[in-house]
């Protein structure tokens, strides 16, 4: 789906990102991922894995008590850490935009929709009030909000959650960014509205040739919209690759667990099933030594307790961080099959 040749640097390139909280254990570490222009990457993992923090650190919007303490974040090849606040602000909006999980609280309740969009346009483009207003109108049309002229004068509380999420999307793409980060954009919405928002995001991504980082814990969403998938567990990547490759042939036991925990079961008939993964994501300070997943892993061996596995890239860029990756074609452990 990518229109780019490999020569252009990825629009987003995170390498060995480490997010710390004072002297406490880092919350995110060894986090790497890439998003190319025209590509949708699904970032999945249970709640508390560090997906949102990864996204916020790209935007430079981490809460005051958190800090990027290691690794690199490149936007179109340019390292953004150490940039002045002023430069970073220009990048937010012009190079990257973000959509948040809670559309109901994401907009300023005392400003009209039109004012909030126009403000964004005027912050980045030297245009008149009228031109900004025109652009706002155009954007509302682009995100398919009915009666856009009237909506411009309305306040957020006069709109439904789905409509508000469309407004947030309109703001995020107002200045034609190359990268769009959507942090669980449909989690707070009704199922029917979810589908519409996903469709909108997918079509915008195609039309504007965006790099889209879609954060979700819903694997069906990933299958629907993403080209590649990055599976995150307890602060780092455990598996990544093309969507079909990873979902049809998961190699990390955690990915396998996520897939079989879906209410609709496995994607591919015959894929090994795993009983729901026991327990929950450990807090950063409670992560075990060695492999962070070993406490919950049915296949953990001695080496898993002592040595942290590396992210090993195999065929077709399918990478996995596991000493004993699952392979259903050859050696699916017997106890997997139910």
């Amino acid at each position: 789906m990518s229109l780019n040749t490999g020569s252009e640097p990825p629009i987003l390139q995170i390498d060995k990102l480490r997010i710390g909280q004072g002297t406490k254990a880092p919350i995110v570490e060894q986090m790497s991922l890439e998003v190319r222009r025209g590509e949708t990457v699904g970032l999945v993992g249970e709640s508390g894995c560090g997906k949102s923090l990864t996204a916020l650190s790209v935007m430079g919007l981490l809460a005051g008590n958190l800090k990027v303490v290691g690794g690199t974040i490149r936007l179109g090849g340019e390292e953004i850490q150490g940039l002045s606040q002023r430069k970073l602000r220009r990048l937010r909006g012009e190079k990257m935009g973000m959509i948040f999980q809670e559309p109901l609280t994401a907009l300023n309740p005392v400003m009209t929709i039109g004012a909030q969009i126009a403000e964004m346009v005027r912050a980045h483009r030297d245009v008149s009030r009228k031109a900004a207003h025109e652009r706002a109108l155009e954007l509302l049309r682009l995100v398919k909000i009915p009666d856009p002229e009237e909506r411009l004068g309305e306040y957020p509380h006069q709109m439904s959650g789905g409509m508000r999420q469309r407004v947030v999307i309109a703001m995020a793409i107002a200045c034609n960014p190359a990268l769009l980060i959507a942090d669980e954009p449909t989690t707070a919405l009704d199922v029917t509205v979810q589908a519409q928002i996903l469709e909108l995001l997918a079509s915008l991504q195609r039309e504007e040739n965006l790099g889209l980082l879609m954060i979700t814990h819903d694997l069906d969403v990933v299958r629907l919209v993403a080209d590649r998938i990055v599976v995150m567990y307890a602060g780092s990547v455990v598996e990544e690759g093309a969507v079909e490759a990873v979902l049809d042939n998961p190699r990390h036991p955690y990915t396998l667990g996520l897939i079989s925990a879906r209410p609709t079961g496995s994607f591919a008939a015959g894929a090994p099933r795993l009983a729901d993964i026991r327990g929950s994501v450990p807090a950063p300070e409670d992560r075990p030594a060695g492999c962070v997943f070993r406490d919950r892993c049915p296949y953990a061996q001695e080496v898993c307790a002592t040595t942290r596995p590396m992210l090993e890239t195999g065929q077709g860029g399918h990478a996995v961080r596991c000493h004993f990756p699952v392979d259903r074609q050859t050696d699916a452990p017997k106890e997997l099959a139910q």
Binding site: L61, L91, P109, H157
Partner: protein
């Protein structure tokens, strides 16, 4: 304020004429608030009338205590002021007079209550308006500065200063101001509302009154500056944590705009509520400061009326104060509506 688009009345045809305003939610809302305000006034007046009557003695007793009055004389006085009538009759008559803003006669001032109040209202009005606006502006600025620099030395410095203002009773502030600016430095007049016998007019008069009221206003402000400062700081910090602030930052607008445009307007709401409370408590509650500075204001008037059992005057003061408080609350509701479009008009 612009209203929601779309048909406002159910049947689509807008009624014209003097009641057109009633067909809009805003018009109905305002009308409802006015009716409520009227009801509050009636309740307050009925309630205070009975309270007044509960207290033993009337002003005739007070008079009788200071000079020799015969039984006939007291009876005649009571008859003249209607004090010999049954309570209910007195109440009905009184409420009827109130409706025409006639509060009767103030025996201790030997003048109609309306005249007494009109003469004293300006002092209190100036005190209240000046100290509310001044303390709100200064306090809010301190609060904003503290929030903007949260956790830094500026914040700590402001916090300590606010604590100091908060902990110092206003009459102590008043006495210190008198000692320093009035007596030691001789910069400011320390008593009264205007210079007696100077016959100032026009700007000279205004300047004279301003000089006389500066110290009392400052004394009334200090405590409230601390209140606004603390509420303002807390409110700003709370708003800055809300989701929409993150969205605003994600748009790449300047941090100043995030703070002063997005957060501030949301953070003002609790401060406006506070202003309403402050007005209510100052209208009658400035008596201490009025006494210290020898100002003929409403607080002093009420105080004198209580001591001398001048029921008419006291009820007049209560009426005027309640009217002021009810009006201010009404204005604040309207302000809320302008500042917060979410306010439910139902």
């Amino acid at each position: 304020m612009t209203q929601t688009s779309g048909p406002i009345t159910g049947n689509g045809t807008k009624k014209a004429g003097p009641f057109a305003a009633l067909s809009s939610p805003l018009g109905r809302y305002i009308l409802r608030r006015l009716v409520q305000a009227l009801l509050v006034m009636v309740l307050v007046m009925v309630g205070s009338f009975f309270l007044m009557k509960l207290a033993p003695g009337d002003f005739v007793d007070v008079l009788a205590g200071t000079r020799d009055l015969t039984a006939e004389q007291t009876a005649e006085l009571r008859a003249r002021y209607g004090l010999d009538q049954p309570l209910v009759i007195q109440l009905v008559r009184y409420m009827g007079l109130l409706a025409t803003f006639d509060f009767g006669y103030s025996p201790i001032n030997a003048a109609p209550v309306t005249d007494v109040i009109l003469a004293r209202l300006p002092v209190t009005a100036i005190l209240v308006v000046a100290s509310v606006s001044l303390s709100m502006v200064i306090g809010t600025l301190f609060g904003i500065a503290a929030a903007r620099n949260a956790g830094k030395p500026v914040d700590l410095g402001i916090s300590i200063f606010m604590l100091l203002l908060y902990a110092t009773p206003s009459f102590i502030v008043a006495i210190m101001l008198i000692l320093v600016f009035g007596l030691k430095l001789g910069l400011m007049p320390i008593a009264g509302y205007e210079s007696v016998g100077m016959g100032y007019t026009g700007w000279q008069h205004i300047w004279d009154v301003t000089r006389h009221l500066t110290l009392p206003v400052v004394a009334l402000c200090t405590f409230y500056i601390a209140i606004y400062g603390r509420i303002g700081r807390a409110s700003m910090l709370e708003v800055m944590r809300l989701d929409f602030v993150r969205t605003a930052r994600a748009k790449g607008i300047s941090e100043g705009r995030v703070f002063y445009v997005h957060a501030l307007r949301n953070a003002l709401l609790p401060l406006i509520t506070m202003a309403g409370l402050q007005v209510s408590s100052l209208v009658g509650g400035a008596v201490l400061i009025e006494t210290v500075f020898g100002l003929p204001g409403m607080g002093r008037t009420a105080y004198d009326a209580v001591l001398q059992r001048d029921t008419n005057l006291l009820l007049g003061v209560i009426f005027t104060s309640s009217l002021a408080v009810v009006t201010v609350n009404f204005v604040i509701d309207m302000l809320y509506m302008v500042l917060d479009p979410r306010v439910n008009l139902k």
